[in-house]
């Protein structure tokens, strides 16, 4: 299989540098570092502490007042998997700010039991109206296979739906406001142009979420336009006519995933998993899909940034753990192969084990990886920093 030019494709710096405050490296696409070697996400975390959150809450109340409908129809769309983050947003909007949300979920590729139970509890214990978008399973499998081979990310079909389904629901239900949780680009490092505004530009979808390849790209790989339709955004004119606005709750309320966990334990019946997720130490995040471990694993291969690096980086910023603990966790868990659902993954995507590893190796960039005695290791892991 042809080796990919990862560095060029994602515009990655040739020299790997780690943030002085957290565990993230400059290999995270679009992240920036300041002159003191501190990443944009850490700087934003610092900035968050200086914000006047009372003022931000007033802005939220104003926003709700502008969009609230009193005729029984929905006034806000909240995308939510049944996890702690969307659960927090939906519950606050409905039960604290008096909105009438329609919560929407794009179906996981291969759901887990714990994920499904949490979603049921979110609806039943938390108390929400809910719509699940479930695309044709045969098409989704094919797309997963294609995305794995072409993008090195089997999760891409899910991301299409996750991004576009709420837009579609907004248009169909004449709801102008969509409320997401955090803005990943801002909280976790990326394009900082969004740090000072509550909304997201729909034009950024291709660039930030679809690796430059919108769903329509797959037509040339034999997926019919009709089969692709569920993954696609509504027509742009429809989005405009609906006056659709995407807002982030993290702009209005200080975003703290751990506190969301506490909140949802109390209010929406949320339960963490029985054991930690492979590739990291946590057991309360990203629990609902058997495929997502491979999304994180491929991220580790491409950027040297696995799930533990991402988790520790934001927990350090949130003051939950020290950098030293973060580095120890990275050393212990990052890049751990998600073997629990490997056979499910292979049979779902119709990939052989051999093809899988061949594809994985084609995404290893020379500036990140070295091979010694047939074993791939990171050239510059954070725990070997001088």
């Amino acid at each position: 299989m042809e080796k990919k030019n990862v560095q060029q494709r994602y515009n990655l710096p040739g020299e790997i540098i780690y943030c002085k405050k957290c565990t993230i490296s400059n290999q995270r696409p679009r992240i920036t570092f300041d002159e003191n070697g501190v990443c944009s996400a850490c700087n934003y975390a610092e900035f968050k502490k200086s914000l006047d959150w009372d003022q931000r809450e007033k802005e939220l109340v104003d926003l709700c007042d502008r969009y609230r409908k009193n005729d029984g129809s929905y006034d806000v769309i909240v995308p939510c998997s049944g996890g702690k983050d969307g659960g927090f947003v939906a519950h606050q909007l409905k039960y604290k700010y008096g909105m009438n949300p329609l919560t929407v979920t794009w179906a996981p590729l291969l759901p887990t039991e714990i994920g499904r139970r949490n979603l049921d509890d979110f609806i039943g214990v938390g108390g929400f109206d809910h719509i699940m978008g479930t695309p044709n399973g045969k098409v989704t499998k094919l797309m997963t296979n294609l995305a794995f081979h072409h993008l090195g990310d089997p999760f891409q079909p899910f991301i299409y739906g996750q991004t576009n389904f709420p837009l579609k629901m907004a248009v169909q239900h004449n709801v102008s406001l969509i409320m997401y949780g955090e803005n990943g680009e801002v909280e976790y490092g990326g394009d900082m142009k969004n740090a000072f505004k509550p909304t997201r530009d729909i034009e950024d979808h291709d660039k930030h979420y679809f690796s430059g390849l919108p769903p329509e790209f797959w037509v040339e790989h034999g997926v019919s336009p009709a089969d692709l339709a569920p993954f696609c955004a509504p027509r742009y004119e429809e989005i405009l006519r609906n006056k659709t606005q995407i807002h982030f709750f993290g702009y209005y309320k200080c975003w703290d995933p751990q506190e969301n966990f506490y909140y949802c334990r109390e209010h929406t019946g949320f339960t963490p998993n029985t054991e930690r997720s492979e590739g990291t130490y946590s057991k309360y995040a990203s629990l609902d899909d058997r495929i997502d471990g491979y999304h994180y694993y491929l991220g580790f291969i491409k950027f040297g940034i696995g799930r533990t690096t991402s988790d520790t980086a934001h927990e350090i910023r949130d003051g939950k753990i020290t950098r030293e603990e973060g580095i120890a966790l990275v050393k212990k868990y990052d890049g751990e192969f998600p073997k629990k659902y490997f056979s499910d993954f292979l049979s779902y995507t119709k990939i052989t084990e051999e093809q899988f590893w061949e594809a994985v190796d084609s995404w290893r960039s020379d500036h990140i990886w070295k091979q010694e005695n047939g074993v791939w290791t990171l050239k510059k892991p954070i725990y070997e920093e001088g």
Binding site: F261, R265, P272, T274, E275, K283, G319, K320, I321, E325
Partner: protein
Amino acid sequence: MPNIRLIARLDIKGPNLIKGVQLEGLRVMGDPEEFATRYYHQGADELIYMDVVASLYGRNNLTEIVRHSAQNIFIPLTVGGGVRSTDDVNALLRAGADKVAINTAAIKRPGLIQEVARRFGSQCMVLSIEAKKVSEGKWEAYTDNGREPSGLDVVEWAMRGCELGAGEIMLTSVDQEGTRRGFDCDLVRSVATAVPIPVIASGGMGMTEHMVEVVKAGCADAVAMADILHYKRMELPEIRAAGLDVGLHVRHL
């Protein structure tokens, strides 16, 4: 009949006292010694310090805190987390611990229980078990602060630990821990009736009725509490008084 002991449990990570729910989402609470001193003055019968990141670093980092605490706190102190050898036990006992609690290392090498019991006595060998419910009447032992399954059945493991010389069992229910919804009484009873040694029930105390229930129905010999104390939902004198009120054999102060 010996007294039912009321034990304050402090889970410690680095310099901080922390508290989770089902051992997840570990919130930083503050300086562990401040809390420990408060509980001592309020009449706790014992204290437990657990280093919850010890297995991550492969060592127990509590020696200094233990040394310092032992100068000001004069009730039995159990210390756990990352204890892997008799040398580790020796170091903690010398620092001022009265007992050590061992989980992961004992699961990996049950012989360690015997070694510790022979060298230091069973009275200081506490077997710590993190129990996760698998089905009705069945629990699996976990390690790494409730993150890794071991495959061991909790009741069988408790019996084996007892045979090897453990003098006490600290039994934490991963499902109930931090939830304030009460102890897993079935779990505690299953273990307490299977072994002749004392069992400390840990995980789930949200009100005094839970304590009474786990002692009466669960046959617990001691009750560990964390959330209820750390968040000051109740204080130890109130809890003790509530126990005395219903005739529980707790120590009169």
